[in-house]
Symmetry: D2
Subunit: 358 residues, 4 copies
């Protein structure tokens, strides 16, 4: 096994990025450029093969002397780690070959996140080509799965909505503090969550100076979120999830509402202390002090997820707010965090950048 | 009574605006400039007295040959209608004198909106100086109060959150479709809702590229909203209300959640038809066709409130989304609509401007 | 001649819009909806034929009960006026037929703006299919061409950059105040100037929070601007024109620099008075008072062009700033202004809407 | 001398920041948090003394366990380096005492930038209280002054406009390529350039969705820029400088125009090669390849200044565009760069962060 012969803890490892031309890809390259133990050897793009990475992403100018290359499974397998920053239904076609080559795989797409293959196929509208790896894949939410990530060959990193909403609701469910059949997640996402695709609805003239909900009748991330919440609750969970397109580039704010299971015993302090206990020691979850509220600007560019907990007495409702940068803790940063865990490094390596404020 | 001797239906009436230097004031002047029956005679501002209105608000250049004047209750009383576009606790000091002078008063502030004086005093932190007019004042939401507005001397126009949230929830409560003890309103407001005051938190560098909740533990508009909802429900209502500051100038989107009273009988079509019946014939409420969702950009600058209705089967939750321009249907436009009703004119007079898109 | 038999001054006329699915199209429909003398009978779109206009542009909901229809030259010819809000090289294929049907044509595209056919063909990369109409077409800048527009069958309305820059420089050239071989126009345009096309560079995530120049080596509007300036100067003009993509939806600000011809005699007051004289009586050009500067927000949604004039003594340079809404005075508003002139109506009809501020 | 006894090249040094509550202050703390050789020991603020730095700037939460303290010149003098991130006319009152205590001083304000005291006093409207240090102070533009910065006790770091415009024009002047009496700098700045002060004009509702020029008749940075340009030119320089407020948080784009001295001999390639030679080896100036243009989003959060060079043949005008992050290369990043030089470290230490894109 290559993992054994290559002593990754002692030197630099090599990384490949598949589908490096989107926002998750450039963010991954930004973070890896500052990571002392990783050298990005390959960045693949069918469309841009031969173009300098820094021409496509000028913020990387002078930092990567690398051209995009056509995807090549053999070359990828020769890396120590391969990140898939691809649309769904791409990683499932290549992951097995890349793993067989000896690389670990960290998939930022949805291909290996949902354990129920039928459910995945329904939401993603295609047959899953690699169901056998779904059961091996480890869900890459370090706050719930750190030990398994440590051993994983294949990590399925959750995206932006699932990360924010699960972090906001897990302590409530694990401690049986709320009625798990009536959860609500009202989530507000910056436009970069839609990726870099040239669709009219994401033009500045369409998406700025406006807020709107979308996918009210159902969103692909819903089953993934429910899967995580049910694991925490140890049973069925019902969730109303309404995503909103917010006129900003980066950031997700999830405002979650959950009815207290026992209104007489519930309260803001009780709730906050459950969160403080749950996330004590977590390097990237900040439970805010009483009276403070998260704002996406406070975590722009950083891997932090800010959480605040409130309780509305008159409706016996827990209100949990979670803010993250959708491209960092909601994508590339979390992938790096998983890599650090999987390779046995300091979990914060390469993730110490402070958010850009203002 | 001046109202009788002045035949306002036959010619131009004169209007005064108190506190015309904020965003509600300039929007009122924009709308009145296009109103065939109203001449703005006075625009008062203690601070800017003597300055040309068009110097302060250059979009009005060439349209108003008027200087701001110091407030003068006698002069105001000589107008046919006086709008208060002031912060709270100003109109209550002058309204009685202005009414006595013969003018009708349309107050865009909160001074006469809440019938429970003690509650008002608690939220606004000062003694109410004119409680006797509170009971006479008519709440200026045309969709619930049209007949009373027709006769009113003093109209208390609801603001942006109360308008959107009441319009979103009234049909559910009037038809007893939902559990009125578990209502949630997750509202997203553009920054103009905070007015033109120079506070650091509303600077472009603080408020753009970010979304955050505020006033989670209680907001001044909460009791006003609940008062309206309880009237509709005919009994007590409990509401969780979480306002959010959204990085855009104009617009409010209220995403409201309410548990179905009878999940077995409820459904999206049933809900939508209740809204369609309720708002049939309303000139400024648009219940959207199935499959469409409101966006604040669609009503920017117009007096329209767009509403969409959905139902989440798995949680038995009604989801109602309402979008309006907070400065128009949520303030100045609604004030003009109330004036039109009170003077017996076509309710849409001066309000036919189409939203600016993009 | 249909123009003679149809007494357009007495009643409503009918209008058709070709290519009504872009930003210029929706803006035209917004303005025409408020125009007392025009009924929009046709809005054509090959792609959206059969779709309700209000479904595509929800701000028009309730105002137009009209579906997009496939382009039909005969039907268009039956209108009193036809607006082309199409990309370049479309109007030239249909204008002759539409004119032959009896309609006047107001073209918002570039097809008939440049008198030098070879120059047009070079910049637009295709052969001109209707050169014979180029000489008949009247350039639709009312401030220079009002009398000819009055008689025109075919008006070629200048776009956003040409309007702002010509209005900013004409008085300098007409009065021979500056060295016409060294003109500079540094222009800043909102993103709507690029239209509604789904190109990656105009995504919110690409175009917001950034400013950049483009087309520094040459822009299609350059020859059109120079053509107008040379007419004013009565001889050759050299212009450096650098357009910039500015992170906002609407608005153009042109900052123009021109060396004084006679530094000893020049000065701010002399310059300003040349502008005041030139634009006295113009309904939509505002020469700002000394000390005030234009801002695009002051004209958002209105047909006004604001101009300020300064003089830098140390470099003997005139500085002229012009701000307009690129979709109004820079497109649809100017087209309506031309229509009003051509039909002998009040030039401001339907253009009295005040800019939306904030 | 403390500088001699403290071997700063071997370990951590201690830093103090005076006036750390503005945007320059927080950016400095963000950069210093990632600097391996600096420990921020003091952050002073008269107003916020006793408040945790991370409460005021939540992006620093978990990274600085420090409260703001009242300014204390003795304590500051005990630091190895003291940064003044204060408004003008503050550093001049304290710098001498802090220097006497043994610290080096890096002043980000304008107090020591202008050598002509009378000129400074005229523009800043107050008497200079420390003229004797003005002549000692070294102007902190590493690209022109690296050797002197190495020896400096007191560095006067240029701000955003002076940095971008000087970097854009220096190679033209040093090589006598242009007529130095007719320079134009049309500069576009993000709103953070105005600092964090709560003034109405910088509210989101005033400053977003608009662009406008300001200070057309004269700007404080003008004499500082001219001073630098004259040094490069070896003689008098005349400059028209028009700053514009641009609707974005960060970034400056300076579009500079200069008439070729010898039009016959000039050209784009000649100009570009002058820039390439001039900035070869500069770690933070990128002369872009032919055909590429700077955009402020490409340098957001990074210390890079991007420069592109063009030439307009018809007007014989050199066009140079320079983009930087006004808070980094235009303020805090440049201060850190100067510190690195002054302490003999790698000039890029702590400045390797890649810009955030998107």
């Amino acid at each position: 096994m290559r993992h054994e012969t290559h002593d990754a803890t002692l030197g630099m490892i090599t990384a490949g990025i598949v589908g490096a031309t989107g926002y998750t890809g450039v963010e991954l390259m930004r973070l890896l450029a500052g990571h002392a133990r990783v050298e990005v050897k390959l960045a693949t793009s069918r469309e841009l093969a031969g173009t300098a990475v820094a021409k496509h992403f000028p913020n990387l100018r002078g930092r990567f002397d690398l051209d995009f290359s056509a995807p090549d499974r053999a070359a990828l397998g020769g890396c120590d780690v391969v990140f898939f920053a691809t649309p769904h239904a791409v990683a499932m076609k290549s992951a097995a070959r890349v793993l067989a080559g000896g690389a670990r795989v960290i998939d930022l797409s949805a291909d290996f996140r949902i354990r129920d293959i039928g459910c995945w196929e329904q939401w993603y509208g295609t047959a899953h080509e690699c169901p056998e790896l779904v059961s091996e894949a480890v869900y890459g939410l370090p706050e719930t799965n750190r030990e398994r990530i440590r051993e994983a060959r294949l990590v399925a990193v959750p995206g932006c909505y699932p990360t924010a909403i699960q972090l906001a609701l897990l302590p409530l469910l694990e401690n049986r503090l709320v009625d798990e059949t009536r959860l609500i997640a009202d989530a507000k996402s910056g436009v970069s969550g839609a990726g870099r695709k040239a669709a009219a609805e994401y033009l500045l003239c369409e998406a700025s100076e406006s807020i709107s909900a979308y996918a009210v009748t159902g969103h692909r991330h819903h089953p993934e979120i429910v899967q995580g919440l049910e694991t925490a609750a140890g049973g069925p969970v019902n969730l109303t999830f309404v995503p909103h397109l917010t006129p900003m580039i980066r950031g997700i704010l999830a405002t979650c509402y959950a009815p207290a299971r026992d209104p007489g015993a519930c309260g803001a302090d009780l709730l906050r202390s459950a969160f403080e206990r749950r996330y004590a020691g977590e390097p990237f979850v900040q439970v805010l002090p009483r009276g403070e509220l998260p704002a996406t600007r406070e975590v722009r560019g950083s891997n932090v997820c800010e959480i605040a907990v409130h309780y509305n007495e008159s409706t016996s409702t827990a209100i949990v707010l979670a803010a993250e940068d959708n491209l960092v803790k909601g994508a590339a940063g979390q992938a790096v965090q998983c890599m650090n865990i999987a390779f046995g490094w300091n979990e914060s390596e390469g993730l110490e950048g402070i958010g850009l404020l203002p």
